[in-house]
């Protein structure tokens, strides 16, 4: 008789492979399947190690360099632990629903339902075991380094079950909405927006002084940790919440295991309309349309929320905190926004990986594909900065201020061309680049963004003003863009 642990280890490998491979399927078979399987298995280790490293680094910086109070470390480890668990589990949430092969196989084997459920619970736990160990280990080290109340450890212990609860919740929601056209997309986007909101929240909590908070908040979940000063009610309340969340996480884990075995995905009945012919006549516009539709329905559509989130921060800073609007503050916001917008081509190209083979079977050159992405990115940029341009005019700021705002499109433009190269390279590798390749890609995108930004800062310091530095940044971006274009043409397609 097979043991639950042995069955779980097999299921875990399949779940992780499905989560990693199925979510990125492109229609092209990876050139090196064994590497893909290896990459899928190493993904957990690399992600956990990376997040653990940043958790430790940020914690140390916060404490030693920025001299932040101990409770801010509670917020940091809570958020990091949450994201570590959540980002790994959410990766499985949507592909899991399509993993009929696992369900089908389990149903045909002579196994007790109780054993299968236990094995599935275990295999789900195995997908997050390493992040749990690493986050606890890092938070223990941070607690020892900082001394006194172990804020980092308490934060991690609260963040881990919360991560499990929320991701299990999304898995259950995904299971209900998988075949729904609108609801499925809403759930997918919500799951990604959550990370953005959490990061914003972390930045906000980091700046909170616990002494200025209303003492009544000391019994509120999560916030209670900020009030711990030693043995006392806030500590006991927080420990009670940790126990409560852990129990709930276990219940959710069991519930998901049961649902995964029992669920039968129903195809939604939809209203049928007549085929009205081909409405978009320009091939380029058709590409733009498909880019938008695909990206909004993709797993990373939530990243479209980044510019909106950024504006929320800006307006929060301006209206609530009363920051005065000056030409330089307008430009600072616009330049930051320009960096945020550089995520748009990433969203567009990454969404396209799934159907990459279709694009290669059509008369679409990499350059035409790039032009389509540039149009979307350009529209996104100018729509986003338009309120700033209007505000600058309303505040009677110099008209010359409009020039750097218009030119700050440079870095996103260069990033788009760099993403085009990465996309073509990914396709030639079977749309399944290795972790090392992804790391190099990441570095290239950072460089594409970083060089114009560095040139802007240097020009601001050396020359002053804002029109010339903006021109310098734009010129550097254009050089990058042209170089990337040459590489793209050389890469060719066939």
């Amino acid at each position: 008789m097979v043991s639950a642990r042995k069955l779980a280890s097999v299921l875990y490998k399949e779940l992780f492979y499905q989560g990693y491979f199925a979510s990125r399927i492109s229609g092209l078979r990876p050139m090196n399947v064994s590497r893909v399987v290896r990459t899928a298995r190493h993904y957990k280790l690399v992600m956990s190690a990376m997040m653990g490293f940043y958790m430790g680094l940020f914690g140390a910086m916060q404490y030693f360099i920025f001299k932040m109070p101990g409770p801010s470390l509670f917020a940091l480890t809570l958020t990091f632990s949450f994201i570590m668990i959540y980002s790994l589990l959410i990766n499985l949430a949507f592909p899991l629903q399509g993993a009929d092969n696992i369900r089908g196989l389990l149903a045909t084997l002579p196994l007790e339902p109780g054993l299968v459920r236990k094995a599935l619970t275990l295999s789900l736990y195995m997908t997050m075991d390493l992040p749990i160990y690493i986050s606890i280990a890092v938070s223990v080290v941070l607690s020892l380094v900082v001394g006194g109340v172990p804020y980092p450890l308490i934060g991690a212990l609260e963040g881990i079950p919360l991560g499990v609860i929320v991701s299990m919740g999304f898995i259950l929601m995904a299971e209900r909405t998988m075949k729904g056209k609108v609801s499925g997309n809403v759930v997918r986007n919500l799951s990604l927006v959550l990370i953005t909101v959490l990061i914003m929240l972390m930045v906000y909590i980091d700046n909170i002084k616990p002494s200025e908070l209303n003492p009544a908040l000391s019994i509120v979940p999560i916030v209670s940790g900020l009030f711990i000063t030693g043995l006392g009610i806030p500590l006991y309340v927080t420990l009670m919440y940790i126990a409560l969340f852990s129990a709930l996480a276990y219940v959710m884990l069991r519930k998901v295991s049961t649902r995964l075995i029992e669920s039968i995905v129903q195809v939604q009945v939809v209203r049928v309309k007549a085929f009205r012919g081909f409405r978009v006549r320009s091939p380029l516009m058709a590409l733009v349309r498909v880019d938008l539709v695909q990206s909004f329905r993709s797993r990373i559509a939530g990243l479209w929320a980044l510019p909106i989130s950024f504006w929320l921060i800006v307006f929060f800073a301006m209206i609530i905190s009363g920051v005065k609007l000056t030409p330089m503050s307008v430009l600072a916001y616009v330049w930051q926004m320009s960096l945020v917008i550089a995520f748009i081509p990433f969203i567009l190209y990454t969404s396209e990986l799934r159907g990459a083979v279709v694009f290669r079977l059509l008369p679409i050159s990499p350059i035409r594909n790039l032009v389509s992405k540039l149009i979307v990115t350009l529209i996104a940029y100018y729509v986003t900065v338009a309120p700033m341009m209007v505000m600058a005019l309303l505040y009677r700021m110099p008209l010359s201020l409009q020039v750097p705002i218009l030119l700050a499109f440079g870095p996103p433009m260069a990033a788009t061309a760099v993403m085009a190269i990465l996309f073509e390279k990914s396709i030639s590798e079977g749309a399944m680049p290795s972790i090392l390749t992804m790391f190099i890609y990441g570095l290239m995108v950072i460089l594409a963004e970083g060089l114009p930004t560095v040139s802007l800062i240097v020009a601001l310091v050396l020359i002053g003003g804002y029109v010339i530095p903006a021109l310098v940044m734009f010129a550097v971006s254009m050089i990058e863009f042209v170089v990337a274009l040459v590489v793209l043409v050389r890469l060719g397609r066939h």
Partner: protein, 247 residues
């Protein structure tokens, strides 16, 4: 019909250390159905992928006299892949609209006819990701036929199709060839190959063992049916006999 629809010379396809296709050469003439037969892993799909430029290859490929595979050539080629090449985030309606715009087709009559022929109308607004395997295959087939290509590349195109759709598609293929079009067809189902193909090429472990008309191939290996000819050509007949005796 005259003219060369596809010329492949000395084709080599490698996946790392593994050589999937080893120096394959064949020609498909206009108005001809050429069938690549072979066991699983023989190199049929790799050959089609090379013709489409989806994998790196060595050797010469000339599609419709227009040169090697390139975005420009793709407007004259229709493809049904082993796994349907579709954009799953779109609905069939959105997908067909996209293809029509990119390929410059603005007459909706053809797509309307194909949608009805393959009984896909009820699923036009369902995301492709939510369709059954058979309906996804139908979407891929319509996508391949939409622009009335001169060369059709079909890799196991009858996968998941119901009997009615198989019959419709066979008729569509027949009419395509009658109008001067050509087809490169890959399958491991001998009955279908015997009924549809003008010439066959038998591939095994990346090497073309034999090729010719069905009668020529049968004659060459002294077999009564294409299935027997195929099994003899890849030396599987003795192996099967031994397996059956062991059962």
């Amino acid at each position: 019909m005259g003219g060369c629809a596809l010329r492949v010379e000395g084709l080599v396809v490698r996946y790392g250390d593994k050589v999937a296709v080893k120096g394959l050469s064949f020609v498909i003439n206009g108005g001809e159905v050429y069938c690549l037969l072979g066991p699983n892993g023989a190199g049929k799909t790799s050959t089609i992928k090379a013709v489409l430029g989806l994998v790196r290859y060595e050797g010469l490929i000339d599609v419709l006299g227009l040169g090697p595979p390139s975005p420009g050539v793709m407007n004259s080629v229709g493809v049904v892949m082993e796994s349907p090449a579709v954009l799953e985030a779109l609905t069939p309606r959105e997908f067909f609209e996209f293809l029509g715009s990119v390929r410059g087709i603005f007459n909706a009559r053809r797509v309307e006819t194909l949608i009805d022929a393959f009984e896909l109308r009820d699923y036009l607004d369902t995301p492709i990701a939510a369709l059954s395997a058979g309906n996804r295959q139908k979407v891929a087939i319509i996508a391949a036929l939409l622009h009335e290509p001169r060369l059709l590349l079909l890799d196991e195109p009858f996968n998941f199709l119901d009997a009615k759709s198989v019959r419709v598609f066979k008729e569509v293929m027949r009419r395509h060839v009658e109008s001067g079009g050509s087809i490169l067809f890959s399958t491991h189902i001998m009955e279908i190959a015997e009924r549809i193909c003008d010439r066959v090429g038998i591939l095994n472990e990346g090497v073309l063992i034999t090729e010719g008309t069905i009668d020529e191939v049968k004659e060459r290996v002294k077999a009564g049916t294409l299935e027997d000819a195929f099994l003899k050509a890849i030396h599987a007949d003795e192996e099967i006999r031994a397996i059956l005796e062991g059962l």
